[in-house]
């Protein structure tokens, strides 16, 4: 018996019991759909995290003040006023690997423009900020050096603030007030979207560092020229870990910290955050993969079960086929191909559903549709293997039937 004939015959048998065949396929369908969807969703999520990290700056190290002990009480990270403009400048000047070193102050403010107002965060920055964050001015211009240094009363708006305060109107040239200080809007930033922690990165008003510190965010920092954080961008191709070490050494030296004492600052880099994210994504993937695995095994058992029923039901047909010349191998092949065909059809349906889920998820979540053809092919081949393995025993039983007995069956 040739393969084509066996295949046609098995398709006929599957069609004859359409509902039963579909129910039998279900396990395979779910398993394969889970695998395809899981991989696509995983890839999409990772791609988005990567894109977010890229948006934030991949080789970014953030320096924040560390803990200080005040009257016996240890305050939380970031509260100390130990980082200054001078630290930022020193990092830039003394470490060659540093491309940009942006001191930042920030605080929540109410921005008023004419009749409308909006609560947002004000961020005081210098020009390095735009380099460090890879963030460009969409319309208008950014701060001139003089405005940064001397504390000009100019502001750049994020897209969300523009929308909330000006609606569709062009804000450039308009005046906004923050804490009763008037600022001229000189530009609008490009849209940056959500951060990977879900915050709206466009809900922001950027002010020159000096102005923000002295007149907006709070006076306490003004005295010692302290900042909330320093955003450091390491040059492309430089070793991040080595640069981090250098930065630590320099800051310890500048802050006169003796050997054996803790740092009064801490460094965060995006790679670590990325690694954590990937770890949790991997855990999720393993979980889904085991669900898929269990589903495929159950699907295989289902196929075996139905094939055993089918062999029993069709004993007479097997007898007839043997009478007209089917060899044991032909009978075996027929049932094996039938089981495999069921599994492969299930696999195809599963692939279609999986891709469907991936497309819907990608559209909903707004990340690119990433379907790995290798995964699709592997899933297809694997469902075929499940068919072969689970069809083997029923096919073996069919092939071993005695023709006389089989013909006598009801």
């Amino acid at each position: 018996m040739r393969l084509v004939d066996a295949l046609l015959s098995s398709l006929g048998a599957i069609r004859a019991h359409a509902l039963r065949s579909i129910l039998t396929m279900l396990g395979i369908v779910i398993g394969v759909a889970a695998v395809i969807a899981m991989v696509a969703v995983g890839n999409g999520a990772r791609e988005r995290v990567n894109a977010q990290i890229q948006a934030l700056g991949a080789n970014l190290i953030i320096v924040i003040p560390g803990t200080v002990t005040q009257g016996g009480a240890r305050l939380g990270t970031g509260n100390a006023a130990t980082l200054t403009d001078a630290d930022a400048a020193a990092l830039r000047a003394e470490i060659p690997a540093v491309q940009a070193s942006a001191p930042i102050v920030r605080g929540g403010v109410q921005v008023i423009s004419g009749g409308s107002n909006w609560a947002t965060s004000a961020v005081g920055v210098d020009q390095d900020y735009f380099v460090a964050r890879d963030w460009l001015v969409e319309r208008g211009r950014d701060f001139s050096e003089e405005e940064s240094r001397r504390g000009g009363q100019v502001a750049l708006l994020g897209q969300t603030v523009v929308r909330e305060l000006f609606g569709g109107n062009d804000p450039i040239g308009a005046q906004v007030r923050v804490r009763n200080v008037p600022f001229d809007v000189i530009g609008v930033m490009t849209a940056k979207g959500q951060s990977m922690f879900g915050a709206d990165q466009d809900d922001v008003i950027l002010l020159p560092l000096q102005t923000a510190r002295q007149r907006v965010v709070g006076t306490s920092r003004a005295k010692n020229r302290s900042v909330n954080q320093i955003m450091v961008k390491i040059r492309e191709g430089e070793d991040l870990a080595a640069a981090e070490e250098e930065m630590k050494r320099l800051l310890r030296q500048r802050h006169r910290i003796q050997d054996g004492r803790d740092d009064d600052f801490s460094l965060r880099n995006m790679a670590e955050i990325q690694a954590t994210r990937e770890q949790s994504a991997r855990t999720m993937a393993m979980l889904l993969l085991s669900v898929a695995g269990v589903s495929l095994v159950v699907g295989g058992i289902g196929i075996m079960n139905i094939m055993l029923v089918s062999v029993t039901e069709r004993t007479k047909e097997i007898g007839l086929r043997m009478a007209v010349g089917a060899r044991p191998l032909d009978v075996m092949g027929q049932f094996l191909i039938e089981a495999t065909t069921i599994a492969l059809i299930g696999g195809l349906i599963g692939i279609a559903i999986g891709i469907g889920i991936a497309i819907i998820t990608a559209i909903q979540a707004g990340w690119p549709l990433l379907i790995d053809p290798i995964v699709v092919v592997t899933a297809f081949v694997f469902s075929g293997l499940v068919g072969i393995v689970s069809g083997f025993y029923p096919a073996f039983r069919a092939a071993r039937l005695d023709p006389v007995e089989a013909l006598r069956a009801a």
């Binding site: 006929g12 047909e317 010349g325 060899r327 006389v404």
Partner: protein
């Protein structure tokens, strides 16, 4: 006769072991069947005629004795060779027709050729020819359920003929048919026999056996009689006006 007979059995035995019990289905049968003959195998149920047919049809292997089909000893063949022998040398016709229900007449007739590995085109052509030969030229695309009992049995006969076997083996071929359709089928067998096909019909009905030229009777696993006779002509019987039963 100088040539070896088509079928030659010597001291053929078939014994089943049913738990503790030994059931002797065939207790030493010897006979020969020449090519081109029309033989009826008769006997009550349990006489061994079905066992004999299973052995002749290469569905089963003897416990002892020898069976030569066209001079080839069958007892030594394995399952695969037995299947090939059934495919090429034997054409089975069953009481219940045993057609595949989801396949049309043409497809059913093609089945033995599928196992013979014959290419599709030739298969189609030969299946058509076989169906025309049994008078079903206009029913090739019909499913078994759309055919009458007699037509289904004709499909089965076409299927049995299509590989040009050495002999046609019919097990109660008219058992599920009314008397007129039975006559029809027997007339077909006689026509085929006149064309040179060897026909062996297993039956317990004397009316059916009347159409054969030789009748072998079984009882308790042995041949009790073996007679030549002048067969009744089924075609002529069909032509006669319907008699009162």
């Amino acid at each position: 006769m100088s040539a070896s007979p088509l079928i030659e059995v010597r001291d053929l035995e078939r014994i089943y072991q049913m738990g503790e019990e030994r059931v002797v289905a065939l207790a030493g049968v010897s006979t020969e069947i020449a090519e081109g003959s029309f033989v009826a195998v008769m006997g009550p149920s349990g006489s061994g005629k079905s066992t004999f047919m299973n052995l002749i049809g290469c569905l089963d292997k003897p416990s002892a004795g020898s069976y030569r089909l066209k001079g080839q000893e069958v007892g030594v063949l394995g399952a695969t060779e037995l299947a090939r022998t059934r495919n090429r040398e034997i054409g089975f016709v069953f009481q219940q027709f045993n057609l595949l229900q989801r396949v049309d007449a043409l497809g059913n007739v093609e089945l033995p050729m599928i196992y013979a590995g014959i290419p599709v085109k030739e298969r189609r052509a030969r299946a058509r020819a076989a169906l025309e030969r049994v008078g079903l030229a206009d029913r090739m695309g019909h499913l078994p359920l759309q055919l009458s009992g007699g037509q289904q049995q004709r499909v089965a006969i076409a299927r049995a003929l299509v590989n040009q076997p050495a002999c046609l083996l019919a097990d109660e071929p008219t058992g599920a048919l009314d008397s007129r359709t039975s006559l029809d089928i027997m007339a077909l067998f006689q026509a085929l026999n006149r064309e040179g096909v060897t026909v062996i019909v297993v039956t317990h009905e004397a009316e059916v056996a009347a159409f054969a030229s030789r009748v072998i009777r079984f009882r308790d696993g042995r041949i009790v009689s073996d007679v030549q006779q002048v067969p009744r002509d089924a075609a002529a019987a069909l032509a006669e006006p319907a008699e009162a039963a």
